[in-house]
Subunit: 163 residues, 2 copies
């Protein structure tokens, strides 16, 4: 991760893409969201969705996975260039998650993040809070999901224990 | 599900509880949130969490599973009593998800829902929208997660195709 001071509003990162297979959709749904339209093609055809589609939680969890992989790649590149890598603090949560369109079997979702707010924290010297708008867009260019998440990011200048 | 007309603001449902084991936490994290403090006890001890703890997405996905199981039990009981069962429409999303405390290995989280808003939809006759505040509380009585979700619920009186 970049240090807090180096993060600017408007920065966009393409974090990766994922194709949702039937096996993938059914496997997640069997464990966490066992509704017929996520589990069975015939039942999905009779539902308001019309076809097998992924749990909205599945779409969101894939975002999380791709973000972790993306940050790891970025940090490895920073270390390879001899740059410092900022620590992340806990995420207090997120807001306004919207499932805008169903994610159907075979859809490829491209995920991106855009920094929408940065602010220093007087309550936690050495850390800043960033808010990021996260989106998933299908292969037709249609947004399928968006939400805003926040996370604490280490500042470059946080005193003797910060490096 | 109850029909829209039968749902009132303030109704609370205990939907179930789940104990997060180390295997459970690591299995979810390996797939969707591979951060050291969700994957490895020693790494977690060195992190800001101090102990192995569940991905916030895991805590939320368990809520989804328990809700589906709860609704299914309720609907079976309604059918057994000869009552009608309302259909649910898609969920447009949710808001204000807060991860309030870590969920540590061995914690048992009790999940509940409380109806916070009901409104008819002029744009979709025969359906209403309910908003529900969802919470998870650990065995010490501490809230660990809350968020507000919305879903479309069928009205009892939605014309000839509604029954």
């Amino acid at each position: 991760m970049k240090f807090f001071e180096d993060i600017g509003v408007g920065e966009i990162s393409d974090i990766g893409r994922h194709t949702f297979t039937a096996e993938d959709i059914k496997g997640f749904a069997a464990r966490f969201d066992p509704q017929p339209f996520h589990l069975d093609e015939a039942a999905a055809a009779r539902s308001h969705f019309g076809r097998l589609c992924a749990s909205g939680w599945h779409t969101a969890c894939v975002w999380m996975r791709l973000l972790i992989d993306f940050r790891r790649r970025e940090d490895e590149e920073r270390r390879a260039r001899g740059e410092g890598v900022a620590q992340l603090g806990p995420s207090p949560g997120f807001r306004d998650l919207k499932w805008l369109k169903p994610v159907y079997v075979g859809d490829t979702i491209s995920y991106a993040t855009e920094v929408v707010e940065t602010r220093g924290l007087s309550s936690r010297p050495g850390w800043g809070m960033i808010s990021v708008c996260n989106t998933g867009v299908n292969q037709h260019g249609e947004p399928v999901m968006s939400f805003i998440s926040s996370v604490l990011v280490e500042c470059r200048d946080r005193g003797p224990q910060g490096s």
